[in-house]
Symmetry: C2
Subunit: 236 residues, 2 copies
């Protein structure tokens, strides 16, 4: 697909360029299928990588934390790298050398910025909840002004992004196909487990529709993608 | 548990210290349950976060790549941060503010070093395959010297490490428990999917024991942990 993001020195895949993509559709589909990103930033020359929940709204990625968070203070105004990855399989080749993994990943760059406007914060944080549980922001108790002030919100306009995907089967050297060695791909997927209702519920224990979409044994990325499609957010 | 790793400015959890741990048993159990880590490093002041497969051997973490990899060249001799995280659940509270996720994560620090000794490389790369598929390094074609030379191996002695875990249920403000809002935890887990044998096999399609441990619908972290226990590696 034609690139939407500029291909720069830091996003160009020099190794295995056939695994790379720079278009919004590919990049955003990978982002919208995940929950945890890894934020890379630098403090006094030391790289730090913090895992945190994130969400996307148009061309921006958000994450949040306590107003007292060191990470959020360190990234405000700073160049950061945000990486999201999904493990899709283990690839067993006939040779040690060609063992591999299947995955989808995105690496994106931009300048992180602390968002202090209360309306922007409230809207973005509601979008976070509704991205996971469509409509839930209206169903639960909304944040008080004091709670909102205790949350730091970081937004990052995606300036550069690259996706990298391996989704093929076993690739062996031609002469190795004759070897009596088993080869194949073992699929892996982030999957929904059991739902446990809280023990102090004042309502019936069956989860409401916005939580029931997480049906046991379904794939998390598929549920999240369906939520994004239903909300008209996919690829936008 | 008593800390094994020094608690320093970069590993001390200032926020929610009750979620932190600094002992080998906790840290290594989280590392040994995962496949992909996120390596943070700095190139010309720009943080970069690369997802890559990793493995642990005693107090060292390894990862590898092409000898032509920019990442591996950039991290040799440099301070890096390696982060591993597992998403364990989505926590729906009665208030927007107390929504959360359950997770296990490790952040570790050390100096990355390119390992050039051929014996060390071969032993470590075999350990990588055997960590995932016990005994497979002896069952597949071993790497030629040329293949070995095409792989760069990075090792990092874990100097500092902290684990952070949230594994509890819903925590709401006391007055919110009276609200007619559903609350609960939706479990998530990296799960084994279908195994697809390669179409050009010279052997029977049923996977050998070292691959059959990845039984469909089992949890990836449990399989990996069992492999580590069987090999006597856990906590060591």
């Amino acid at each position: 697909m034609a690139p939407d993001f500029p291909i720069t020195d830091r996003t160009r895949l020099k190794r295995r360029p056939q695994r790379g993509a720079y278009d919004r559709e590919t990049v955003y589909a990978i982002l919208d299928a995940g929950v945890i990103c890894h934020v890379g930033y630098v403090v006094d020359g030391q790289p730090l990588v913090t895992p945190t929940a994130y969400w996307r709204w148009e061309d921006r990625i958000y994450w949040h934390g306590s107003a007292a968070s060191r990470m959020l203070a360190a990234v405000d105004g700073a160049p950061v790298c945000v990486t999201v990855s999904h493990l899709d399989g283990l690839v067993l080749a006939r040779s040690a050398f060609h063992h591999s993994i299947n995955y989808r990943s995105v690496m994106l760059f931009g300048r992180a910025e602390l968002i202090e406007d209360a309306d922007h914060k409230r809207t973005a944080l509601n979008a976070f909840i509704d991205r996971l549980f469509p409509g839930r922001s209206q169903a639960c108790r909304e944040s008080s002004d004091k709670e909102l002030a205790a949350i730091s919100l970081i937004g990052l306009i995606i300036e550069e992004a690259s996706a990298k995907v391996r989704s093929t089967g076993v690739v062996d050297d031609e002469e190795d196909y004759a070897l009596p060695v088993w080869a194949g791909v073992i699929g892996t997927r982030m999957t929904i487990g059991a739902t446990a209702a809280d023990t102090r519920l004042q309502v019936e224990p069956a989860p409401p529709a916005h939580a029931a979409v997480y049906a046991e044994n379904s794939a998390l990325d598929a549920v999240l993608t369906n939520c994004a499609i239903a909300a008209g957010r996919l690829g936008k």
